[in-house]
Assembly symmetry: D2
Homo-oligomer: 252 residues x 4
């Protein structure tokens, strides 16, 4: 049994700080770095890549909607051509700065509302997969299991890495409960760690109505925008390892 | 005698259009493409690169201050670290999309206030040259002759291409007259064409006070944000060729 | 018979120009001014208000989604609280600058995707109407006839001014055909003028499938983002007056 | 002896939080609220005004440069017309939302680089004072003592409230030491409280070189963007009151 542990990092912007990236990077094996559209800026991006490199963590691009005010969490009705173009732009920016810092990009993971829409919208998913394929067909694409994004990755012959969220509630259909719903975000470490372990060891998770969902995930996301995200990531990693799970990035 | 003819393109943004890029591309040999900070957006950027490629025009990145509202023409007091980071980011975005479109980047040319400040500020110039060098030391750097940017390019072992402006007035010290000054922008084709020819054939130009300036320029910029920019570019090219000047990109 | 003729103005931004506001203002009786979120900036806003005042045209605030890159034409999934707040902010900015210029605000008209969503979404419509009511309950609210926005205006005891578009195709249900559809935007003056006259004199309009729609509109919008918008507005006004319609702002 | 105690608040943006406004508002008597250009957004603005009102704290507008990425701390070379327009816009937005919340605006205080430039640049200072005067000539203008802004306020017949900073080092000429300099920001409560008391009781402060500066300040600023800003504000207030100073807003 093995799993990748990932976090979204580089989400600070100018004078604004979000997340304790240094703490997260001590526990995760992959990190998705914001590109300046929904979060991040050129200096944060470069600093974050250096930090991830110093921790030996694999780096991905984390493209989002062009909506800093909404942190990329508001759905926007863009055309698929627009989506392909701004995903391509964001991958190019992250990959270019990573290369300058001596790091090769491992993956791409859409952010927030773009991620959620691409889980269900085949055209948007195809646009994202196409942008990844055009830029570098060897990049991994992270996304929800059994989603439109997974189908689009297959069609584009990209390696897809299905992702689970130990700190988010699942609806009975296997989608994430909307962030605004009560109970959608789980912040109790005592619940998150066993959920993470169950997702990998038993390949199962309970939905909001108690339904048992079968999940085939190869990476688990630990959210970074909570005060004790670093400690939580460490606890999840320790819990997984104690259960005999090897925590390693997907390419290892 | 030979010279490169360049234009700044890709400056439209969303529903906003500036410049007749298609017309300009019929006459120039190099084009500097905006990267979305002072002008341009991901879709405009990609479309513009395709258009330049179709016209066989060499492409450069045109990084500017992060100031869409001011079109990058307002000086901003950024740190040199910030400047290096946002120039690097913009080069990475343009180069990455160019690569996807099957085009290699030829050069980098700073835009507007960043260009004017880098002409005189050694630290800012060094930050820009360093960003270029880090990204790809074979990229050409376009800038004003005998400037801080030229010195910084030499220190970074970059090939520098000194640039002249046939449609801008020069102060007696060889700097461009500020855009806001009366007469700073020349829009009479009958004056621009002979100025362009004089800059290359005689390697001279008259400053605002009549002083004769000796200029060693290897590229001439034709501005694109005027209604008849396309016709003007054609006239400048025709005038140069009629005077026996070969118009070709710097690497040819 | 009478009708108000309105246009959306003040949509330029920094170095970017959209629309020939001066030409439009010669023919319309009301003008909705962008507030800097989807278009416009503080200087454009102030200059536009002065221009409208000089032409004796009534002014309204034209709030839109915070999406300059999409010109406010992309639907965004904001909360109703967010919508109320950013509509309130935009009204405050326009009204404040208008007051300084010696002009009282006449109306509020949502822009683009906000307008289209508020036509059908009761909660969003209520948020917009509430913002107007909170700011100044004597402001008129412009919107589509028989819409959620009209109902929300009634609930908030605001005077509602139903609006027709002579240059846009209507779906059989009375909504505007989406801008991206073929034929959705009518640019032939010879078709627009009789449609405008028919909307006011016969209170009818043909939908895309030929259905006759009964429309009770009190203002007609002339779009300004076309090259000959000024001439078109003049033609529509002349056509209406020739048919015996009095063209005047709603409060006259 | 009396003094106003002020803080800059409402500087959060979307998902990004800066400052513990609720803690600050327990101790200050005036608060300057960001307007969305260098910090803040419409929802933060409205929420912040409500919070200040609930604490009985007087409200001012805190206009800054249009530079969210730089938090308004980077000097920008704007024209005086641009400055007047964007200051006017920001005052209008804050005042309009305050009015809806049942609060009248007390003052205007420029932010960051705009404040520092207006301390020395007579034309910029005049533009700011003119915007305030145009909007409401009864508004107070906060700024550095013996500055260009004070002179501009006098010329515009505005009541000026000279401001001191107990947590910032002063250069020998009475200007604030640049934020980037070592020691420019004082974060030791044991030094800040006696400095605050000295500024009001003795009307003096020591500059970085030991020079004794005579300061005639009527309001003291407590910065809010430090983790323990709320505790610091409470300590400053307690220190002032223990020294017999009455802490009250300027209009009381």
């Amino acid at each position: 049994m093995r799993v990748d542990l990932n976090a979204d990092i580089g989400e600070s912007f100018g004078a604004y700080t979000i997340g304790d990236d240094a703490a997260l990077l001590r526990s995760v094996t992959s990190a998705s770095v914001a590109a300046g559209f929904h979060a991040g800026d050129p200096s944060v991006l470069r600093r974050t890549i250096r930090l991830a490199k110093a921790h030996g963590v694999q780096i991905g691009a984390h493209p989002g909607f062009p909506d800093l005010a909404g942190f990329g969490r508001r759905a926007m009705h863009v055309t698929t051509a627009e989506a392909e173009d701004f995903v391509l732009y964001q991958i190019a920016a992250v990959a270019g700065i990573a290369r300058v810092e001596g790091v090769a990009l491992q993956h791409v993971k859409p952010h927030g509302a773009l991620y959620n829409l691409a889980a269900k919208d085949d055209q948007l998913a195809a646009a994202i997969a196409h942008a990844v394929q055009l830029f570098d067909a060897s990049l991994l694409l992270f996304g929800p299991p059994a989603s439109a994004l997974q189908r689009a990755a297959a069609a584009a012959r990209l390696r897809f890495v299905p992702e689970g969220f130990a700190d988010r509630a699942y609806a009975p259909d296997g989608s994430l409960a909307p962030r605004g719903d009560a109970g959608a975000v789980i912040d109790d470490e005592r619940r998150i760690v066993p959920r993470a372990v169950g997702m990998i060891v038993e390949r199962q998770c309970r939905a909001t109505d108690g339904t048992v969902l079968n999940l085939a995930v190869e990476t688990l996301c630990v959210h970074g925008d909570t005060p004790c995200a670093g400690r939580l990531a460490a606890a999840v990693r320790a819990g997984l390892e104690a259960a005999g799970v090897r925590v390693a990035h997907p390419g290892s």
